[in-house]
Point group: C2
Chain length 705, copies 2
C-alpha cells in the first residue's frame, strides 16, 4: 500500500506510523562494515534508531554477545520558529527513496508547525561502499511561504539506540565548531570506540559539550524562498578491527555519493539479473541483493553475515546457517570475494567450534548454532516470551547439522571459484575438523551408525534420533572430508603435509571417514518417503490445510509440548536435503513422493522455508507452484507478512529468493565444462538473464521458457 | 500491502488496526436500497459501524438532512469461555474476502483468548441484490483444539452507528426466541422505521428485551472438533419509500447468496470489461463497478447516488454533480435503468430546485449543490475544521454549473438510450426549467452576456466573473433546451402541448434561449488558452512542481485567502469543459494549448480530478500520461492515498476510472450508426473489451493498440 518501486529505487510517499518500525528495517543502508537503519534523523516516538559496526560485539548480558547499536551519528534536532520538527505532527508532504544504484537514502518532508511557515526539509545520507569507515549526511532546508527561524542541533548521541541499554560508555570528548571526537568504552570493557564528526554549516555554530550527547547548535534565519545546506560526516574507529581511517575529508555530499555509486556499479555488474515478464520479481531480487551486499563485509578480517543482515536488533546480529546455506551460495556465484570473507570468518571461528566440541567431550569442531565474534556458542539457554513462562532453548546444543552446513558452503565455494588456495588451507581444515566431530559423535551398533538426540532443521521436534537430514549431511560431510584429504595428498603435497602436521592426520583417517559414511543410516523409507526421524511416521496427523486462515505459527497455536506429538513441521527437513544435495533428488519418483508427503505438512514457521520450497518445486518440474511459494516469500520482507519486520530483514529469505531464482527456476548448476542451466520458468517469466562467475570468469546465462 | 486481489474477490489476510477504518469503507456491501459498511460484527475500538437505507434522510442538525445509520443488524457479541471475542486481541488468523460475483462478504478468524481453546469463527453476510429489503448473516464457529463454551448475543442495536448521535429513537419492540421486531421514530419525527429480525440457532435462546438493544442470548458448548451455525436475517421497512417487504423467509444463507448471485450475474453481463495486459486495472474497474452498482437504487422511486456512494458518513450522503457527471454516463451505457433511476430522483428534486431559484429571485430551476431528499439546498453554510476558525461555505449559493450538469446527464442518457418517453416529459422539463434559470441569471451589457460571481469547478477561486466552464455549460444548456423544445414540437406534439401548458412555454422561448447562448461570453483567450475566469491570467504564478513532495492540498498549505490570489486550481475547470463537451476540444491546437497550460496548475485537490485528467490525456493523444494519472486515481480508494478512506469511497473517482477507460482510453462515442471507439490505449494495454447498450441493444466493443 505504501511502497512505490521504480527499477532502481524503493520509495514511499506516505508516512504511516504503524508501519514505521518495519520501514526502518527496509530502508537500511550499509557498506559491509557500517549500517544504519532507516530511522529518521529527528526523534520519532517508538523509533528503533541504530547504526551498527559489523562484528563489534559486546557482552552486556552475561555470556551472550550482542551487536549493540553504536553511538548515533544521524540524530538531528530541528526547530522551526521554536516548534520542534517531528513527524508525530503529520507532515504536509513526505517522500523517501532508497537508491539501489548508489545506496543514497533521501527523505524530503514538507512541514510546518502550528503558526509556522512551510519548510521543505531534505535529508540525504550515504554509507559510501568505497569508504567503509565513513558516513555522510546532508540536510537542505528551504523556507517556502514565509521567513522561518531555524534551530538545529546535531552531534554524536550515545543516549539512544539500543532496545535495552546503551552498550557504550562515554570516556572522553574533544571538539570545536566544526570537528568533534568522542571516545567510548564498551560496557563490558572489552572494546574502545572513537567516533569523529565534522560539520559544514552556515551561521553561528556553538558546541554543547554534553557528556552523552556532545553536539553542535546553530541558529539561523531564512527569508521566504531562501534555503541552506548543512553537511555532516562521521567516522567510526574501533579497537576490534584495527581500522585507522584517514582524517575526515572536507568534501561535499555529492562526492561521497559519486564514489559510492562507482563501487556499487561494480557490484551491480556482478549481480545483474533480469526477468522479462515479471518486473515485480526483478525489483524484489534487486532489493534482496542490495541488502546482502550492504551487510557482507568487504574485507576478509570482517565479521560474518548475520541472520538479520545489518538491519535490526533481532537475534542480536548472530550468525546462523542462514548465511552459509542461503546467502553464501548466491554470493559465491556473483561476488566470490564476499563469500570468501564469510568463510574466512567461519575459519576464525574454528577454535570456538573446537571448544564447543570439547565441551561435549567430542573431537574436532562443532560449530556454534548462533555465532558472534569468537565462534563460541551464543545461543541463549532460555528465552522469555512477552507473556508466559520462560522457554528452554536447545538449538545451541542439539542442532548439530550446522557443522555440515559450514562444510557444505565451503565446498560449494571451492567448486565454483576453483580457489584451491582456500581449500588447501582453511577450507580443508574446517572440513576435516568437522568430519572428526561427526566421527566422534555417531553411535555405531549392529544396525549401523546413528546420530541420536538432535534437532533437525524442523525445530518443532526436539531431541530426535536419526534425523534424515542430519545423517545425510553428516554422511556427505564425511565423504567430502575423505576426498579432500586424498585430493590434498595428490595435488598439494606441501599443503597436505602442513595440515598433517597441524591436525595430526593419520594415513587411515580418510578411509575411516568413508567407512563411517557408509554405515550412517538414513532412516526408514515408506512408499519412497524418507522418515524425517525415527518415529515421525507414528506421530498424530494434523490436517494443516484445515487450520486456516492463519497468520500465527502452529507453535503459537498448539504450544511446544503438543507440537512434539504431531506431524506438522516448521520448515523443510527431508526436503532440505533434497534442496541441498542433488544426489538426494536423483530419483524423480523418490523426490516427488517426498515432496507430496512433506510439503503439505510444512508450517513455513521459519523465514527460510518458503524460498526453499519455491526453488525445489521448480527443480521438481512444478514452476507454477514454485512461483506461488516464491511470491509468498517475497512478502516476508516486502509486505511484512510475518509481522516481525521491525526486528530486521530476513537474510535467509532474501538470499533464498535469489537462490530459488538461480538454482531453482533457472536450474543453475555445474558440469565439467562450467555453469549450466536446466530451468523450468513459471509461465509469465519469458526470460531470466544473469551473470555468474565460474573460476573467476563471467558467464552470461539466459534461460527462456 | 494488505489487499489481496483475485479476479473476482477483494481480500485481505491481515488485520491492521491503523487501516481498519478505510477497510470498513472498502468492504461495504449493498443492494441499492441497503448498504452495510465492512465494520466487524463484534465491537471494535474506533469502529464506524453503519447500515444505511438509501434516501432515508433525517434532520438532526437543523435544516441539514443527514443519511444517518439505521439501527444495526450486524452486531454479534461473542464470548469464548467467558472471554469476549474481539480483534483488539490480535487473532491467530484472519481472512476477509468480498466476492464481487455475488456480494457476499466472508470473514474468518482463528482466535483464542488467554487460556481458551482455539476457535474458528466465520461470518458471512449478504444484502441480496434481488431482495433489496433483506439482510442475511451466518455465523459458523468450530472448536479446534479444546472444548469451548460459547455465549452469543445478537439483536437490533440502536445504540451504535452514527458519528454524532443516533438518528433513531426506539418506540416499541416485540419478540420471541426466533423473531424480533423493533420500531423507531426518526429524531426529527419525520419518519418511522421498523426492523424485523429472525434467528435460527441451536441451544437455549432467551430474549433480552433491552430498550435500545433488544437481543437474543444463547449459550452452548462445543466439544473439540464440533461446530455450530447460526443464521440471522433482518429486514428494514421505512415510511419514506413505502416498502412493505414480505415476512422474513425461513431460508438458509446459501439460498440468499444464490439469489444475489443470479441478480449480480445479470449486472456483470452488462458491466463486463476486460483489459488484456493490465489485470490490476481490470480488477480496480471491477471493484469500481461493484460499488457503483451496490449504491445505485434499483427502482425509480429510490434516492439519488451519493458522493460517497453508500460507504461512509462523509458528506452526509448528499448527492453532488459527482453522480451526474462521473457516474451516470457510465451507468447510461451499461445499466441505463440505473441511470434513469438517478434522473428520476433529479426530477423529483425539481421543485426543490425551483424553490432555490425563487429564493435568489430568479426563474426556472437552480439545482442544489448538495441534494438530499427534497431537492432543497443542503450545503452547510459553515464548516468547522478540527483546528482553527469556522469557514464559510459558498458552494451552495455560487456553484451554479450544477444545473447545467444535471441537464448534461439527462441529455447524455437520452442520446444513448433513445428514451424519448423520458425526454419528452421529465427530461425536457428539467432541461427547460434549468435554461430558464440561466436566462434569468445572466447580465447582458453591450459586450455580451455575463455570469458574474460564481464558483466554477475549481473551488479554490470564489465569486469569480465569467467562469469559462460555467458560461460554456450554460451556453450548451440554453442551446440544448432550444433544440429540445423544437424537437418536442416537431416529434411529440402531445407531450409538447402538455409541457407548454404546464410550464407556460411561449413561442419565442426557444429563440430567446438560442440568442442568449450566442451572447454568452466565453472569456479571454491568450495563445489559444481560455482564461478560466476574468482576471485569472493576472494571478500570481505558483510553480506547483516545486512544492513537492505533497500529501496535503495547496488549500491546506496556503490557506483560503492566499489561494484566491494565485494560479493554482483545485481540479479541472477549463479542462472540464474539454472533457464534457466534444465541441470544446474540436480544434486540437486549442485543446493542446489548454492542456499544457492548465494541467501543471492543477492541485488534484478533488477526488474527481485525476480520472478526468487521465481520460482527457488519452483523448488528446497522450495515453501514457493518461495511464500515469489513471494509476494515481486508482490509489485514491484502493490505497487510501488521500487519507480520508474511513469517511467512505469516492463515487467520482470510481465512476471516473470507468469513464476514463471507456470514454477516454477507448474513445467511446456515438455517431449516427451507433457506438464507436477511437482509442489510444497505453502501451501495456493490448486490448480493452467491453459491452455497451445503445438504444437497448448490446454492442460488444473491442479496442486494440
Amino acid at each position: 500500500m505504501t511502497l512505490e518501486w521504480d527499477s532502481w529505487t524503493l520509495g514511499e510517499t506516505r508516512y504511516l506510523p504503524a508501519l514505521a518500525g518495519w520501514h526502518e528495517s527496509l530502508f537500511t543502508i550499509g557498506n559491509g562494515r557500517l549500517a544504519t537503519r532507516g530511522s529518521f534523523e529527528e526523534p520519532r516516538t517508538g523509533e528503533r534508531r541504530a547504526t551498527f559496526v559489523n562484528g563489534l560485539f559486546v557482552h552486556p548480558e552475561g555470556d551472550t554477545a550482542v551487536l549493540g547499536a553504536v553511538p548515533d551519528w544521524t540524530r538531528v534536532d530541528l526547530a522551526v520558529d521554536s516548534v520542534p520538527f517531528t513527524l508525530d505532527v503529520p507532515p504536509a508532504g513526505f517522500q523517501r527513496t532508497l537508491s539501489l544504484a548508489d545506496g543514497v537514502l533521501t527523505r524530503t518532508v514538507l512541514w510546518r508547525g502550528p503558526e509556522t511557515g512551510l519548510a521543505r526539509i531534505r535529508f540525504r545520507r550515504v554509507l559510501p561502499l568505497d569508504r567503509p569507515h565513513l558516513c555522510a549526511l546532508e540536510l537542505h532546508i528551504e523556507a517556502m511561504t514565509a521567513p522561518i527561524a531555524l534551530t538545529l542541533e546535531t552531534g554524536i548521541d550515545a543516549t539512544v539506540g539500543s532496545p535495552t541499554r546503551p552498550a557504550w560508555v562515554p570516556v572522553g570528548q574533544d571538539g570545536d565548531r566544526s570537528n568533534l571526537t568522542a571516545s567510548y568504552r564498551s560496557i563490558d570493557g572489552a572494546h574502545d570506540l572513537e567516533v569523529t564528526a565534522r560539520l559544514a554549516a552556515a551561521g553561528a555554530v556553538t558546541l554543547i559539550a554534553d557528556h552523552a550527547h556532545p553536539r553542535w547548535r546553530t541558529v539561523l534565519n531564512l527569508d521566504t524562498g531562501e534555503s541552506m545546506t548543512i553537511t555532516k560526516t562521521a567516522s567510526y574507529r574501533s579497537s576490534h578491527d584495527g581500522d585507522t581511517p584517514a582524517p575526515l575529508p572536507d568534501t561535499g555530499f555529492d562526492e561521497f555519493a559519486a564514489g559510492s555509486k562507482r563501487a556499487w556499479s561494480q557490484r551491480w555488474r556482478q549481480c545483474s539479473i533480469e526477468i522479462d515478464g515479471d518486473p515485480e520479481a526483478e525489483r524484489a531480487l534487486r532489493f534482496a541483493a542490495f541488502q546482502l551486499l550492504a551487510a557482507a563485509p568487504g574485507d576478509a578480517a570482517g565479521a560474518g553475515i548475520g541472520a538479520k543482515l545489518m538491519s535490526g536488533f533481532g537475534y542480536r546480529h548472530h550468525v546462523f546457517w542462514d548465511s552459509d546455506v542461503f546467502v553464501v551460495p548466491y554470493l559465491t556465484v556473483t561476488n566470490p570475494d564476499l563469500a570468501a570473507n564469510h568463510l574466512a570468518y567461519r575459519y576464525r571461528c574454528l577454535d570456538g567450534a573446537r571448544r564447543k566440541a570439547a565441551g561435549f567431550g567430542r573431537q574436532g569442531a562443532f560449530y556454534a548454532w548462533e555465532s558472534a565474534d569468537s565462534g563460541d556458542e551464543m545461543t541463549p539457554a532460555w528465552t522469555r516470551p512477552p507473556h508466559g513462562e520462560p522457554v528452554r532453548i536447545l538449538t545451541g546444543e542439539l542442532q548439530e547439522h550446522i557443522t555440515a552446513d559450514v562444510a557444505w558452503a565451503a565446498h560449494h565455494y571451492w567448486r565454483w571459484s576453483g580457489d584451491d588456495a582456500f581449500m588447501s588451507t582453511s577450507g580443508a581444515e574446517m572440513i576435516i575438523e568437522g568430519a572428526r566431530y561427526w566421527a566422534s559423535r555417531v553411535d555405531v551398533n549392529d544396525r549401523g551408525a546413528h546420530i541420536n538426540g538432535v534437532i533437525g532443521p524442523d525445530e518443532y521436534h526436539i531431541e530426535v534420533d536419526d534425523n534424515h537430514f542430519t545423517n545425510r549431511m553428516a554422511r556427505w560431510h564425511l565423504r567430502r572430508a575423505a576426498s579432500v584429504v586424498r585430493w590434498l595428498g595428490a595435488e598439494h603435497p606441501d599443503a597436505y603435509h602442513r595440515l598433517v602436521t597441524k591436525l595430526g592426520i593419520d594415513t587411515g583417517e580418510a578411509t575411516r571417514f568413508d567407512r563411517l559414511a557408509g554405515q550412517l543410516v538414513l532412516g526408514a523409507q515408506r512408499n519412497r518417503v524418507w522418515e524425517q526421524f525415527s518415529g515421525f511416521f507414528s506421530l498424530d496427523v494434523v490436517d494443516l490445510e484445515a487450520v486456516t486462515p492463519r497468520t500465527r505459527s502452529m507453535y503459537d497455536l498448539l504450544g511446544e509440548s503438543r507440537l512434539q506429538k504431531v506431524d506438522v513441521i516448521k520448515q523443510p527437513d527431508v526436503l532440505m536435503a533434497l534442496a541441498m544435495l542433488p544426489a538426494a533428488r536423483r530419483d524423480p519418483d523418490v523426490a516427488r513422493a517426498n515432496w507430496d508427503y512433506y510439503a503439505p505438512r510444512c508450517d513455513h514457521g521459519s523465514s527460510l522455508s518458503l524460498p526453499v520450497h519455491a526453488g525445489l518445486a521448480a527443480r521438481l518440474g512444478e514452476p507454477e507452484e514454485g512461483y506461488r511459494l516464491f511470491r509468498r516469500a517475497m512478502g516476508i520482507d516486502l509486505e511484512d507478512s510475518m509481522g516481525n519486520g521491525a526486528d530486521g530483514l530476513h537474510a535467509a529469505t532474501l538470499g533464498g529468493l535469489l537462490q530459488a531464482t538461480l538454482f531453482g527456476f533457472a536450474g543453475l548448476g555445474l558440469d565439467r565444462s562450467g555453469p549450466i542451466t536446466s530451468g523450468g520458468l513459471p509461465e509469465h517469466w519469458r526470460t531470466v538473464g544473469f551473470t555468474v562467475l565460474w573460476r573467476g570468469r563471467p558467464h552470461d546465462m539466459e534461460v527462456t521458457r
